[in-house]
Amino acid sequence: MRTELRVRATQALGRDRVRANIRRAMDGLILKRRAAFPDVEELERLRDQGEAIRDHALANLPELLEALEGRCAANGIQVHWARDAAEANAIILTIIQGHGGKAVIKGKSMVSEEIGLNDCLSAHGIEPIETDLGELIIQLAQEHPSHIVAPAVHKDRREIAALFSRHYPDEPYTEEIERLTALARRVMRERFKGTRIGLSGVNFAVAETGTLCLVENEGNGRLSTTAPDVHIAITGIEKVIARLEHLAPLLTLLTRSATGQPITTYVNMISGPRKPDERDGPREVHLVLLDNGRSGIHADPQLRATLRCIRCAACMNHCPVYVRIGGHGYGTVYPGPIGSILEPQLQGLERQGELAQASTLCGACSAVCPVRIPIPQLLNRLRFEHAEAQRGKGTGIRIEGFIWRAWATAHAHPALYRRVTWIIRRMRGLVGLSIRPWNRTRTAPRIAPRSLHALVREEGLAND
């Protein structure tokens, strides 16, 4: 089958330079995460807490959202609700136009990618300015993030140097990372100083206090939310947590799982706009709560676990599929294992159901997930639903269905099973020919002349 996903994945596998960049980065992130959790027992305790906190938040989601809205309103934050991307974009556009804004400085936000905010703003003559270094690189290259934490992970310093010299011809050419970073600081400085509207995502929204918690290392998130007159924060409705205290274990889990840092350089907790006696900070703070398919996921008790996600990206860092095809191989906003369960649910199985196949079900993702999302189980569930939906549509699924039914019948009838395996053993010389794509890069597996059953019987092992 030549589906879009397969075409994209095949292309991605052919990009050696990108693959090398991603492999190097993922190997580093895996080691950093491991070093950040030296005590396995403590890690498991933290994961218990993370799972319990997120589960509780989801079980009480409507109540917590109302509480969050109430607290935010009391603190002076204006809360908006958006059912889908179009509504969210419209809300944000109205706020910006209401202030006559011509540009917006943006802290990193995957939800803004999800709703296609930059395209919407540009179409209305408003310049979106990505300020996170990785996001800036992506914006200059006119690409989309290939990783939810490190958006430009697929690019190396030489590509970035070339990109910067094309866009900032007056700055001296350099391939040194320190100097490339310094260049980004120089070009962004005036934008931070002169732009009156800022936009950011949210890592956690605390219902109890009406607090928006943001983590970052560069300071661009703080600048985007502090220097302008207006701060617009956008988040999925699932990001709410009940209590301020819950931030403590979640922050520990998030930063260590993501980059192996005990904490990010900045943890920014915003609970309201500037008060009359304060000297700086935005005069208006807006919070946009986005559904965009999340309430549908919430309605299913098993699939709901998808919404526990705190967007640390540990699942993609550890994924054998992600490391080979990279984020762009998936063709969705959220790549990797979390994307493979989230996107088919957000966009529908009809459009993205095949993504559930983009996994070996090795389980590395769920083994590292800080909130214990059972990703392989959810992938299986989505595969099943996708196959059911495809049944009778005359696609390639039919022969697959036949093979599995035959397999199931053979395994349910011992006499048949013995006969079938006897025949396969007789024909073992032919097997190497029949699985050509597999053998192209591997030695053909050989079927043993004698079955495991027979060997075990000979060894005299009991049936237990």
Binding site: L180, A184, F192, R222, I263, T265
Partner: protein, 213 residues
Amino acid sequence: MTDARRRILQGLRVHAAAKGRAPAIPVRRFEWSQEEAVDRLEQMMQAVRTEVHRVDDAWPQRLAEELTRASARRLYYGAKGPLTGELTAGWPDSAPELVAWEGSIETTRDRLFDEADASFTSARAGIAETGSLVLWPTPAEPRLLSLVPPIHCVLLERRQIVSTLHALMVEERWAAQMPTNALLISGPSKSADIEQTLAYGVHGPERLILLIR
């Protein structure tokens, strides 16, 4: 938009779930002596390139020396900050110029972005576990003071150092009194967005100088 609100909340109530109380998370803390806590904070902050100095009451003199070495010309501070009296009284004549931030950001913005080489603030607490400074910006010490100038200097008292964020939040009852902005700062600004290689000094301060008294 109230329609969106109603529809979203309605959608979330389709299946009533088992509710239950918010999970009680045991407060994480370490039984460190004050000396151990100070050492831990120093070591964690140095690991992310914070310049840590242990100081006595002559700290303004010490800070002035550091800033002179950095060729800083102007140090911004909050006019009514809790340490302002000490800072100005102990500031040597030959040192970088002291500039008090008094007005609103609207009248200070240009100077803060263009002229301030360094800033000075107090801190509310220090967290030993992660090597973090806790700042609650106030009218006396606004938010951008710790963010815009390239060098941020902080004085922290040894007794202000606690073991974990969780313990601090609970003991000080943060949930009942959150300020408009609460911050944890753990080092100068940094990025690893290019080849996962750490580079310091991105959009926030390039240097963080911590004085522990």
